[in-house]
Symmetry: C2
Amino acid sequence: MVTKCEACPLRRRGLFTAMSEEEIRQTQRFKVGEMMVEGGTPVLTEGAHSAQLFTVLSGLGIRYKMLENGRRQVLNFVFPGDLLGLQAAVMGEMGHTVEARGKMRLCVFDRAALWDFFKSSPGRSFDLTWLAATEEHFLGEALTTVGQRNAEQAVAWALVKVYLRATQLDLTVSNTMTLPFKQQDLADALGLSLVHTNKTLAKLRERQIATWRDGTLTVNDLDLLAELGLTTTQAPPRRPIM
Amino acid sequence: MVTKCEACPLRRRGLFTAMSEEEIRQTQRFKVGEMMVEGGTPVLTEGAHSAQLFTVLSGLGIRYKMLENGRRQVLNFVFPGDLLGLQAAVMGEMGHTVEARGKMRLCVFDRAALWDFFKSSPGRSFDLTWLAATEEHFLGEALTTVGQRNAEQAVAWALVKVYLRATQLDLTVSNTMTLPFKQQDLADALGLSLVHTNKTLAKLRERQIATWRDGTLTVNDLDLLAELGLTTTQAPPRRPIM
DNA sequence: CGCTGTCTTGATCACTATCAAACCGAGTGG
DNA sequence: CCACTCGGTTTGATAGTGATCAAGACAGCG
């Protein structure tokens, strides 16, 4: 039942960087099992000291922070290949919650082994830093979106980001992908109200640029969508996978 | 003229974690010089492949991203002890620009040596990951601010963050600190217009909570300011310094 | 002494929030 | 098999926070 790192189906996909035999063995040693969670389940909780790190094998999710006034900020959408829990592993506690949207399968790593990882494998610890820096990079973009793009630009930007990421993971089928999020999730990611997000999506649908309904996103004009979102259709660089 | 790591005045301050003799020697090897820049000067530029990493010795600055429509998002304020250029060092290029605000003195490290660092010093490479994860954590908070806090809450939040950070660095003198930023910088950090930021600051000033004028910030009621900003007065954890 | 950059303040506008209610498909239980 | 509920989506009406426009104040500077 448990996938061997050696046979990891994810690693093969175009998005990820190649790994040496040695690196695969090291990663395998680090892996303690697999976990399956249902949609709506928190995998990691803000403020918690998690004893584990996870790599998403399949399924999507969200990362978010809650404010004491009840408002929620979605920081990022989680895709297969993402590493979860690095913050808790290095800093002691999580700065956000991670919640699955739809069934999610996770690779489980022991947090205590992280230190060994640093000692024994400089390449892999570099990869960890790479992942953290990439996440930082993304959050900078997201911050720029929420701070400087208007509703239409923001929604377009988000759809492009999600769609490109999914494409690289072979999660798209002819302009189409499954999007198990709620409109409220997108609204909270962009700092918009649910109503306004809905209306903005409706306009994109009417203009035949992108349609999101019944949990399926269809992008009819990616170039135009990217232009509206003040971004590009350039695919993100290959990334390491843990 | 060039400060030895061993005698680094910054490292002594309460904010930073202790380093072993060995770590200090390793860091020293990694250091290639010092640099001085004037206010308004970019230290690193978005998209650039920098051959150097920097640690801020003194002076403040901002990190920002530009959008093609001319709008600017300030991601973070830069303080002494901050590491600059990690993104370019691990990912190949910078995701944002760093610009000094007022005179800034920097420690210069050779990017090429980063890899040696990973190979020879697991402790220090862990520290690098720690810094990246911390930056990610901060950006998550900033994103939450811009997305979910209103103007008053956002300004209060930002002033608290800046003030606490400065306090830890002994940059405050009895409720007061030098703030060499422009109001436009703060506005761009919070996704607000200059005018509205100015009016929000004026209200805090009238209410005797915090006063920022002539480049000096005076915080009269930190607890209230934190409460308004939906945050706490808790000091950030000790951090490693490169 | 005019020029420039920054801060400040008043007036007006509009993008987006909030409020409210209907709609719709999927369960669920009588 | 229908009534009912529930989570999510959709749409219309109204309100407000914050943007934009405009102009004056003020200090530093060539």
